[in-house]
């Protein structure tokens, strides 16, 4: 069965040795993590938020260096952090993705409302299949499970936005709009997720 994605472990580079880890979080990221750590009684519980910060800091995906940096900052092992990161579909572990990730829901309500035709159209228009990135590095196309906005089926997610119901014309307009977009929506998504977890008082402290 070819429909269930398996992780691309064979393509994943060797994890860096502890002495090779170079900490690259920006000053802002370090302060954000510091604030997030105050929300939990232990460091391990900040794992998901820390991975979101890392995904933003490392350009929308998690190279081995990012995993290693989170491991160092939370005092956990590389294997543990990688194990957690690979469990969740929204972390892109070990392989870069395009500036814009277009996620097509083909789950029940979307499928009933024609999502497979939208998917065909997107594949044809971008010239890529599920999980592939356009040669210019602009778009990655992915199939996702229920996004839970079934009243807007068929639905797409791009960055922090839900878009739906979509027609072929909407897809054309979306692609145009994204091509003109200055910042990668994949990074914006990670940043929005980090910001939503910080209280106003935390954000003040981050700003200093």
């Amino acid at each position: 069965m070819d429909t269930i994605p398996v992780s691309n472990l064979k393509d994943r580079p060797r994890p860096p040795k502890p002495e090779e880890v170079e900490l690259r979080f920006s000053e802002r990221a370090v302060k954000e993590l510091e604030q997030l750590l105050t929300h939990y009684p232990d460091k391990k519980s900040a794992m998901l938020p820390a991975l979101w910060i890392a995904q933003r800091e490392y350009g929308g995906w998690l190279p081995p260096e990012a995993i290693a940096e989170v491991a160092v900052r939370l005092q956990r092992s590389y294997a543990e952090v990688e194990g957690v990161a690979t469990f969740y579909t929204m972390y892109h572990v070990g392989h870069p993705i395009g500036r814009h990730l277009i996620e097509v829901c083909t789950c029940l309500s979307c499928y009933l409302c024609g999502a497979y035709r939208i998917a065909d159209y997107l594949k044809e228009k971008l010239g890529v299949d599920w999980g592939e990135t356009t040669p210019d590095g602009m778009f990655t196309l992915e199939e996702v499970e229920c996004l839970d906005a079934c009243d807007r089926a068929p639905l797409l997610q791009v960055g922090d936005q839900y878009i739906g119901p979509v027609t072929r014309e909407d897809v054309d307009a979306l692609i145009e709009r994204l091509r003109a977009e200055e910042s990668p929506t994949t990074i914006r998504l990670a940043d929005e997720i980090v910001q939503a977890q910080l209280h106003a008082s935390d954000q003040e402290k981050v700003r200093g």
Binding site: K44, Y111, D148, S201
Partner: protein, 441 residues
Amino acid sequence: MPERRLLLEHSGDPEYRTIEGYEKTGGYQGLRKAVTMDRQAVIDEIKKSGLRGRGGAGFPTWIKWNGIEKEKTKPHYILCNADEGEPGTFKDKELMENCPHLVIEGMIIAGWATQGDKGYIYIRGEFVDCARSIKRAIDEAYAKGYLGKNILGTGWDFDIYVHLGAGSYECGEESALMSSLMGERGMPRLKFPHAPLPTVAGLWDCPTVINNVETYACAPFIIQNGGEWYATLGASTKNSRGTKIFSVSGHVNRPGNYEVEFGTTLMELLEMAGGMKGGELKACVPGGSSVPILNREMTEKAVIGYEEMVEAGSMVGSGGCMFLNEHTCIVTFIWRTALFYARESCGKCTPCREGTTWMVQILERIREGAGKPDDIELLRDITKMIDGRSFCGLGDAAAWPVAAALRVFPEEFEYYIGHGRSIVQSPEGLAMMPESDLARV
């Protein structure tokens, strides 16, 4: 019965998302009243209301709240399950986006009743709009003294934090959600009676109340108006009280959230959603993808209520109600359902991890025209081998829809296997199917 908007009454009003707008409609009066009451009296009010968990299982809410130790020995946590992931359900999304203060007030009331120290709201990573709305509301609540130190002069401190997931259906299961919040893979844990309940040892092994978004959102109304008042809603049913939000989607004219009193019928719900689109009613999945599918006759008789829905052959579940028209191929629909569970199985328990994939493989074989006569029996066997044999309910939930479809629509499976193609050949029906199916037409 017509729609009865209690939780969603002001959902369409943008001002209601702000604390000023919320207070104008009586917001935070429930909390103000709760803090003048004895903690046990708050729990008793929830008991009188008959409120049951709105996440899918329908467990009485007061038992959870009452299960927290009264003589405090450890920190107490209030956890909100906002990892809405059940296909067909989008009620928590609307509540968080449009009525964030309702959810927060409900959590603070639960915190008061159980001597809570900290609250966490675990929102699925995709729901950025919800997270933004909740975050804004939390900031406002701190500024107004409903959160933080010495809440409303009671000397009681309580904080709420937003925690986002990162893409996993399994994390909507309460023990997996707690694993995920504690920084682990979202896998379920051993459950009562083999392990302590979350009310005894939940987050960080401390007493934890965990409820669904909609459940918390009911609490302000119950405290403000009394449990007895709340229990008058839905009184025509056996043991379901209050209102329930149903997310209606699929082949209907006006998909959306409709809040109804228990005792309303599925056909009334369909009418609220503007009736069927593109063809006659063929089937209905009333409570999210996990619940058994109903055919037209069963749907026409179904009354919304936890016990009533079981009598009708399905479940209330999370309230994700999908109506399917006559052009829907049930075999393809069930294949897509099975595929969802195969992809979302966390992999911990073998029956679920392997069984869900086997079901997809067999259904795929049938869809490719290579189905064998024994396949129906084989599928039935697999569902029995998964159901009840996993740590969490995902395994059961993966088995039920397949088992029900084989029971309710056996002719569709027999036809597909016998003829090598779907019983549905209308252009509308084919337009829904994946490309691989169309290639074979």
